[in-house]
């Protein structure tokens, strides 16, 4: 009997059922989309902010300048505790050189680095490390060096030397010479414009410093610094130190990297790190507030549409009462109806919301997103709870009415 009643209630008034159904689907899809992306967005934003460049600088620990780091230690950066937070790193080896091209002689800096080196570390996934990854703002005309004697030249240095793409630059350091082919000209508006960038291995030979690097720039995903993070690690208790070490503050990641590079000290580049921290904190709290706003709004929309559709049915309830149904039977019919609509609505809403989250993620961040699986039951259950909450008030009012008065009209 209950089943037949339910079936007919859906089939005989398809329009109002459809309206309620649509509102549940919409509510559930907004909830799914928001819950799905809000967690991801802070991660995506953090990745996005990494394009501001490296936030940790490793240099030789000798304060007086001079001193070098060992190239052999570099792969170890991919094995540290925070290895998954490190999005890239690049070594540099600097030296003053005399450049000559087109008959002009100029003094400048030759800088050996990795452009895009395939790094294979045992037990880790192979990765590509180098300038191209951590300094996306470099505006390179021409191409990136591929061979060992190819180089890119900073715009200011290129102007002084009068060299162009395809030309050659001769570098001389303490009597040793190396001829580079210019494959690109780089504009950054910074120090890079005064340098010649060549592959690390060639530069090591030129400077006669095999296996040495002068600096390493590390780009790492970090959490914003808070009051605890600013404390001096040297004065922490054991528990505090553990907590500090296991939180991805820029200082603790720096410490972590410093430990694997012999004779190094790591400094956070505060220009990048502090601005990034405060920006991330704000974007995260904005997303949180927007998510709450969207959830509350969709819950309200679903409840009210249920309320409206229940309210029109008081004559039906009165009739049921008149022919002898008790409160429980009536409640069972209506709750059953709500349950069916909201489970189906929740399911459709979840699928739709999943798509929505995907669309947002693709358009904004050019990347795919997978909604976590726990969202599926959550979407259905929350759709039911919200729908139920919306129907309780009108149902209670309908149950307390006098059948005679309503039936009279």
């Amino acid at each position: 009997m209950l089943f037949r009643l339910l079936k007919n209630s859906f089939l005989k008034r398809p329009k109002s059922v459809l309206l309620v159904f649509i509102s549940i689907v919409m509510g559930a899809s907004v909830a799914t989309a928001f819950l799905g992306i809000s967690g991801e967005i802070s991660h995506k934003m953090a990745l996005e902010l990494r394009s501001y460049g490296a936030n940790i600088l490793l240099e030789p620990s000798a304060v007086e300048g001079g001193g070098f780091l060992r190239e052999d230690d570099l792969p170890k950066i991919k094995t540290v505790f925070w290895k998954y937070n490190i999005t890239g790193f690049t070594p540099y080896l600097f030296g003053v050189a005399d450049f000559s091209a087109n008959g002009k002689r100029e003094r400048g800096i030759v800088s050996g680095t990795w452009f895009a080196k395939n790094l294979e570390v045992a037990g880790e996934e192979p990765s590509v490390q180098g300038v191209r990854g951590i300094a996306p703002w470099w505006d390179v005309q021409g191409g990136w060096p591929a061979g060992p004697d190819e180089a890119i030249v900073g715009a200011a240095l290129a102007k002084r030397l009068g060299s162009a793409i395809g030309g050659h630059v001769e570098a001389t350091v303490r009597g040793k010479q190396q001829r580079f082919q210019v494959v690109g000209i780089v504009t950054t508006g910074g120090y890079e414009e005064e340098q010649l960038f060549a592959p690390l291995i060639t530069t090591q030979e030129l400077l006669q410093l095999p296996g040495k690097v002068s600096r390493v720039q590390v780009s790492a995903l970090t959490v914003p610094m808070d009051a605890f993070g600013m404390k001096n690690p040297a004065q922490m208790t054991k528990e505090e130190y553990e907590k500090w070490y296991c939180t991805a503050y820029v200082t603790s990641v720096a410490k972590n990297v410093e430990e694997v590079m012999a004779g190094s000290r790591a400094k956070p580049i505060w220009q990048i790190a502090s601005a990034e921290g405060s920006l991330l904190k704000k974007l995260n709290s904005l997303m949180l507030l927007l998510t709450i706003l969207a959830l509350v709004a969709s819950a309200m929309a679903v409840s009210t549409s249920l309320m409206a559709s229940m309210a029109e049915r008081s004559p039906e309830i009165a009739l049921m009462k008149a022919i002898g149904a008790d409160r429980y039977q009536i409640s069972a019919i209506f709750i059953g109806e709500t349950l069916i609509i909201s489970v189906i609505g929740g399911m459709v809403g979840y699928l739709l919301g999943d798509q929505l989250a995907g669309i947002i993620s693709r358009t904004v961040f050019n990347s795919t997103i997978a909604s976590p699986f726990w969202l599926f039951p959550t979407a259905i259950i929350s759709a039911f709870v919200v729908a139920f909450a919306g129907s309780v008030a009108p149902l209670r009012r309908a149950l307390s009415i006098e059948p005679v008065r309503v039936l009279k009209g």
Partner: protein
């Protein structure tokens, strides 16, 4: 009672007799339009807020003498100047900035070596009030310097065991700078190895009054504005090089676009879903009134009149909901901007129109659709409740 007053009477009566229903509709309409208002206000002000945040990355334009070679280094690594330095004229920069109309904060900097205890120190002359704005990432131990005080980079301080309170006597070509160390700066960049004194003192000590080695500018501009400002300044400053700091300028533009796009998507998703829900609720309440419509038609109401009554009702609700929604939405937007950016949201009266528009549109759409389907019914049948 003339016809128009009679219609008005009917509309008011319909609302007054179903107070609960009217309240429900009013609240959903208010909710939808408040969402539109709040999200609209937040997204419009978002660009400005994020642009302000991005300023924390520092200067986006640098003016250097054309002849000079930039200092050598990479990402905060500095090797000093390789060749003989050249200088900028402070007066020329001042007048160019005033003439160009570019809105920018500036920091004048002069770099030079001063002699201290048989050593040459790399000294940077700056205005500390500009530094605080353009280099907000400086982590200062001690205090910001007052008149006759200086700031020492962390590495330099470690190397020479300097601490706040120490006195320095720095000898230059044309004079001597006497100053007290007031603080130690850590930045992770080249600042760590430098000594900062006030610009005027350094200019006097080096005998280089009115000369600068570098000007850093933070230009307030939207899309493309930075490049344009650079071009304008370059024209006014012959003999110098105005370059865009791509690391900050380029990346910030990309970030702003992303944030804006995200806000637009979020707004669209929320509005479409809330809007369709509200329209649905509105339709439900009209559908259930089939009997009433049948009655009106039976006693001789034309389609137009019935439509007028229902639309009038919907419009009244829409206007009420729109106004309430604007107030609520502004409050929400204010709350969000205050919590997130600790700034008060601007007052945007034109969003009242947006809010009214959204609310009216949803109300009319919600009652119009079902009404058309009710009209198709025969009055006799709808009166019988079929």
């Amino acid at each position: 009672m003339n016809r128009r007053r009679w219609l008005l009477h009917l509309v008011m009566g319909a609302i007054a007799h179903r107070k609960g229903r009217a309240l429900l509709l009013l609240s959903v309409l208010a909710m939808a339009s408040s969402l539109a208002t709040a999200l609209g206000i937040v997204s419009t002000s978002m660009e400005k807020r994020v642009a302000e945040e991005v300023r924390k990355y520092g200067a986006n334009l640098v003016v250097t003498p054309e002849a000079s070679r930039l200092d050598i280094g990479s990402g905060g690594l500095n090797f000093g100047v390789v060749s003989e330095p050249a200088f900028l004229d402070q007066g020329q920069i001042d007048s160019a900035l005033a003439k160009s109309g570019v809105r920018a904060e500036h920091s004048y900097q002069l770099r030079g070596a001063l002699h201290w205890k048989e050593r040459d120190l790399m000294v940077e002359g700056v205005n500390f009030s500009d530094i605080r704005r353009l280099f907000p990432w400086w982590q200062l131990k001690g205090s910001w310097p007052a008149e006759g005080e200086s700031v020492v980079g962390n590495d330099l301080a470690t190397r020479y065991a300097l601490k706040p309170g120490d006195s320095l006597e720095l000898v230059g070509k044309a004079g001597t700078v006497r100053c007290r160390v007031s603080g130690i700066v850590t930045s992770g960049g080249e600042e760590d190895g430098q000594l900062f004194v006030s610009l005027l003192n350094l200019q006097q000590a080096l005998g280089m009054t009115g000369q600068l080695s570098q000007v850093r500018l933070m230009v307030t501009a939207g899309n493309d504005g930075i490049k344009k400002s650079a071009a304008v300044l370059q024209q006014l400053l012959p003999g110098t090089k105005v370059s865009e700091v791509r690391q900050t300028a380029h990346t910030s533009e990309g970030l702003l676009t992303k944030v804006k796009l995200l806000m637009v998507m979020v707004t669209a998703v929320v509005l479409i879903s809330a809007g369709s829900s509200v329209t649905g609720t509105m339709s439900t309440t009209v559908l259930e009134r089939g009997k009433e419509i049948g009655l009106m038609k039976a006693i001789g109401g034309t389609r137009r009149e019935v439509m007028l009554i229902f639309c009038g009702e919907a419009a009244l609700l829409g206007i009420g909901g729109g106004i309430a929604g604007y107030l609520l939405g502004s409050a929400i937007a204010h709350f969000i901007t205050r919590t997130v950016f600790s700034a008060s949201a601007e007052f945007m009266p034109h969003y009242l129109l947006v809010s009214l528009g959204v609310s009216l549109f949803l109300a009319l759409l919600g009652s119009f659709g079902p009404m058309v389907s009710v009209f198709r019914l025969d009055p006799v049948r709808s009166l019988r409740g079929e």
